[in-house]
């Protein structure tokens, strides 16, 4: 089908291939009609458009140019042409053509100038010496890296580097020099660092922190010249203070100027301070020519940030398609990155607004500087400066121009307070990094706000409410504080059960209780809650009281256990079949691919050597699982507090270093413990030699092959609180290994607390690992036979939950989306494309209800 293009479009030529050019092309592909137009992008750099904002990561984070490339898929579209390594040299506005350096003539209907900036360098003697660099392009950084390596080889010592310019980029360059092994001196002409973004107080606080990194900072100092060594390469820098400093490598980061030569030469209007003049439509003085990004001058100003450039690109896309969009500069903030120091600011940093008030908090001990600028009535936020701790920046920047809603000093003052006896962490340690809550704030929730439970503390402080990984730490602090305050720490699981999990487990086992009603009647009160019900379900399952979906157990289960899949953010589920030991046949891989494609599921390799398929609607789960079971799969319990996966390395079957068959042992263990319900999830790893490629010591149970047999480690963890597993027993035979793991897991099932992983279970085991070893290995309590019998019964009783569910129509009722409309499904589910697949769409994004259609849509334009 051919649609005729709107009159505005046609042949679009973009001069410059930076970030905003990419944004423009992506926008056109997304919004312009299917056919009848073409966009050609010409850039002088030899790369596809890349993420210049994160350029430093090339040097500091071992990223490659390919990592930095902006979504290169747009260049595969037949409606786009990308010319790299060839700059536009001439613009003929009458003929509506541009000519490149290599002589290519490109006619245009619409021309977009996106030429960006160039790195300005003062006209100082010696700036052309070998070893002197700019810090703007991939090529600049590539050459800088090579120079540091080669030159230090020649000199036989680490290089002494100097950076001219103490702005954001200059500091990034200094950090990069250090990362490359050179020292760094930063020379800044102004009286403080980041003088465009920070006030003097913030700049001084930043200097102290930068100094602490071992970077020498010299403010109110200029570079007056560079001198060469005997071999012609740069060797020293002369300063305006008449000092001379060694400089084997020099980086100039002294600001940028708009690249407007083409526009000047062709007679377009140029701003007073340079840049192509544009109006709010981003059109230049020639109606067929637009300018976006750093080369454009809007109201006399050129921007140096990417966000306004992106906004301009969006305006031009809209205008080219006949839209009414206008560019309005949004207030932007700046945050220092890649240096390891927090420094950020936004708004009216210098309090230039008439009547503006400054509220400043300086802590020379914590080395933080925080300032808020507010209106004369102290109500409206006008700006902020944060150095040393920029956690407030993302919280407050969105409130620019709005009422603060509280005394400004309340935002800045630390929560403080003297350390409480009996507590481990100092008050100023941030325990919840998502919400930036300190240990002191948590304690204060107990002492000042009367909180007596972790739940109340979470509600009071917000700690632990985002990712939840700090809840165990918060719990410890709260309990310690409650004890210190003379408040009895409740051991109750919740209001319905007054005892912890391990005690309830013993009571249920001793009483041979089989249902929640029996258990709550005997040992609890009320009708349970989301805390105790899943615990009871887990205990009943560990004691083999029937399928997790038996009618009387169904109401106890978390939705994950209830539908045997893992709930995702939009209410759909992930499906992760078991792949024992990570070994999978090609046929099974094909089957997974077919199922995922048929149901439009987002697919990725999980961290546990399995394949995860995301976006399954509740009503699709039985059909998906029928297909998987037919292909030989079974439930992977990726949703349960149970064995997740046994990770293995390839082992002696193939590996030239392998000592034992780690995959074989991994499969054996996975098939033994699959489906076992435990106080929390658990993971196992098996490595075929001491190289430990399976990272087994980061698992709850780690097995490592030795010349003499298997070593077994317990209580390891990755995640938020990494812990290496402790050695439990050495040089075991296969049978002895299984026996030890059986006993350990059975003990964990009996004695672990609710949602307690094995890492704290082992770390806090009374008497430590020695006591645990005595019970598990040496059978000091005489329960080894019982413990092994627990696991043996589990193995005998194991049945794939999904296979069992699919055979029972009663159990399938729960997979209908609506009890009164069995054929329909949640109409609010919508998907947007993501790297060739889909993710749940946010409001306003390009989206479709069918993920198989959504993945073919083009990307959204606006953020």
């Amino acid at each position: 089908m051919h649609t005729s293009p709107p009159p505005a479009l046609g042949r679009v030529v973009v001069v410059g291939a930076g970030m905003v050019a990419h944004r423009l092309v992506a926008g056109l592909l997304d919004r312009a009609p299917g056919d009848g137009w073409h966009v050609t992008v010409v850039g002088d750099e030899p790369w596809v458009p890349y993420d210049r904002v994160h350029l430093s990561e090339l040097l500091t984070a071992d990223r490659t140019p390919a990592d930095l490339a902006l979504e290169p898929g747009v260049w595969e579209d037949p409606r786009t042409t990308l010319i790299t390594g060839d700059a536009v040299d001439k613009l003929d506005r009458d003929a509506q053509t541009v000519t490149t350096r290599s002589g290519v003539v490109l006619p245009y209907d619409q021309l977009v100038l996106a030429t960006g900036s160039w790195a300005w360098t003062p006209r100082t003697e010696g700036t052309d010496l070998p070893g002197v660099f700019r810090y703007r392009t991939l090529t600049d950084l590539d050459e800088l890296r090579d120079w540091v390596a080669d030159r230090s080889a020649v000199l036989g010592r680490p290089l002494r580097g100097a950076v001219v310019g103490g702005g954001v980029l200059g500091l990034e360059a200094a950090a990069a020099l250090q990362h490359l092994g050179a020292s760094a001196t930063v020379v800044e002409f102004a009286d403080h660092l980041m003088n465009v973004q920070l006030d003097a107080g913030g700049g001084e606080a930043l200097r102290v922190l930068v100094d602490g990194l071992g970077i020498d900072v010299r403010t109110m100092t200029g570079c007056t010249g560079l001198a060469a060594a005997d071999d012609g390469a740069v060797a020293t820098m002369r300063l305006s203070t008449d000092d001379e400093i060694p400089a084997d490598v020099v980086v100039f980061s002294t600001g940028v100027r708009p690249r407007d030569r083409l526009a000047r030469e062709s007679g377009l209007a140029i701003g007073e301070r340079g840049g192509v003049v544009i109006g709010a439509s981003c059109r230049t003085s020639d109606p067929a020519i637009w300018a976006i990004g750093e080369c454009a001058s809007f109201e006399g100003e050129c921007t140096g940030l990417v966000a306004p450039g992106n906004a301009m690109a969006d305006v031009v896309v809209d205008r080219l398609l006949g839209g009414p969009r206008l560019y309005t500069p949004a207030p932007e903030g700046t945050k220092l990155k890649g240096v390891g120091i927090d420094a950020a600011s936004f708004g009216d940093v210098l309090a230039l607004t008439p009547g503006a008030l400054e509220v400043t908090f300086t802590d020379p001990v914590a080395r933080t500087y925080r300032k808020l600028v507010v209106s004369d009535d102290a109500r409206t936020l006008l700006g902020g400066v944060f150095v040393g701790d920029a956690a407030l920046y993302p919280q407050l920047r969105p409130m620019l121009g709005r009422p603060l809603g509280a005394d400004p000093s309340a935002f800045l003052a630390p929560e403080g307070g003297a350390p409480e006896p009996g507590a481990d962490l100092p008050d100023d340690v941030v325990v919840c990094s998502c919400t930036n809550v300190t240990a002191g704030t948590v304690r204060e929730a107990v002492t000042e706000h009367g909180c007596t439970t972790v739940g109340e503390v979470k509600a009071c402080t917000k700690a632990g409410t985002v990712c939840g990984s700090c809840v165990p730490v918060v719990t410890k602090i709260v309990n310690a504080q409650l004890e210190a305050s003379g408040i009895e720490v409740s051991r109750a699981m919740c209001e319905h059960f007054a005892m912890p999990r391990a005690e309830l487990y013993a009571l249920v086992a001793a009483g041979a209780l089989r249902t929640f009603s029996e258990i709550v009647a005997a040992h609890g009160t009320g009708r349970g809650c989301a805390v105790c019900k899943p615990v009871v379900a887990s205990i009943l399952s560990s004691l083999r009281a029937g399928h997790v979906l038996e009618r009387e157990h169904a109401g106890l289960q978390d939705t994950n256990d209830h539908v045997m899949a893992n709930l995702q953010k939009d209410g759909t589920y992930s499906v992760i079949p078991r792949v024992p030991g990570g070994e999978i046949t090609p046929e099974k891989l094909v089957a997974l691919g077919e199922v995922a494609a048929e149901f439009g599921l987002y697919t990725r390799i999980t961290g546990a050597q399995r394949i995860g398929m995301f976006g399954a609607r509740i009503d699709q789960l039985p059909a998906i699982w029928q297909r998987l079971i037919d292909a030989g799969f079974e439930s992977g319990q990726a949703y349960g507090k149970s064995l997740r996966a046994v990770k293995s390395c390839v082992g002696s079957a193939w590996c030239r270093f392998g000592v034992r068959d780690s995959v074989g042992m991994g499969i054996l263990l996975e098939n033994r413990y699959r489906g076992l319900r435990t106080p929390h999830k658990f993971k196992v790893g098996v490595s075929g030699c001491a190289r430990e490629c399976a990272e087994a010591r980061g698992k709850d149970v780690g097995v490592i092959a030795t010349a003499g047999g298997w070593n077994v480690y317990v209580g390891g963890n990755g995640g938020a609180n990494p812990r290496h597993a402790d050695l439990l027993a050495e040089d075991l035979t296969d049978e002895a290994l299984v026996a030890v793991i059986d006993r350990f897991l059975a003990l964990y099932v009996r004695r672990g607390d609710r949602l307690q992983r094995t890492a704290p279970f082992v770390a806090e085991y009374p008497g430590g690992i020695e006591a645990l070893r005595a019970v598990v290995v040496d059978d000091s309590e005489g329960i080894a036979t019982e413990l092994e019998a627990d696991i043996a019964a589990h193995v005998d009783d194991y049945r794939d939950e999904w296979a069992a569910a699919l055979e029972d129509p009663d159990k399938l009722d729960r997979f209908t989306a609506f009890v009164n409309a069995p054929g329909s499904h949640d109409p609010d589910l919508r998907y947007t494309p993501l790297r060739g697949q889909v993710r749940p769409a946010e409001p306003g994004e390009v989206a479709h209800h069918d993920p198989r259609v959504a993945r073919t849509l083009t990307l959204e334009v606006t953020r």
Binding site: G455, K458, A459, C460, T461, K462, G464, T465, E495, H496, G526, R527, G528, C529, A530, C532, K533, P534, R551, A554, G555, L556, Q557, D558, T559, N560, H562, V563, L567, K569, D570, G571, I618, D813, R814, A817, F818, V819, N820, A821, S824, D826, D828
Partner: protein
Amino acid sequence: MTATARSTDVCALDALVPERGAAALVDGVQVALFRLADDTVLAVQNRDPFAGANVVARGIVGSLGDTPTVTSPMHKQVWDLRTGECLDTGGKTPKDASPDLATWRVDVRDGRVVVAPR
């Protein structure tokens, strides 16, 4: 359309599992139905105002004192099933305007569950 008390016969009481939710479509709105242990049926909105997803029916049913409750399967907010009031926000701010859930009137007549706007 005015909010006249138009009632909808949704399903048989037996189609609901005690202390487990089920979603239903009532006049195009997603409603979460809960059959309590005493066979009372309560109805609240299925959209979780914190998560912005239609999942309330999949939460765990319980009690807080004498109040029947449901807990979000997404981030564990707790609501009073009778009034829809949010009893525990978990310290979060809802995406929607209110943390509370809308409620519907439910009558169980002759073993049928009938839902009507309040």
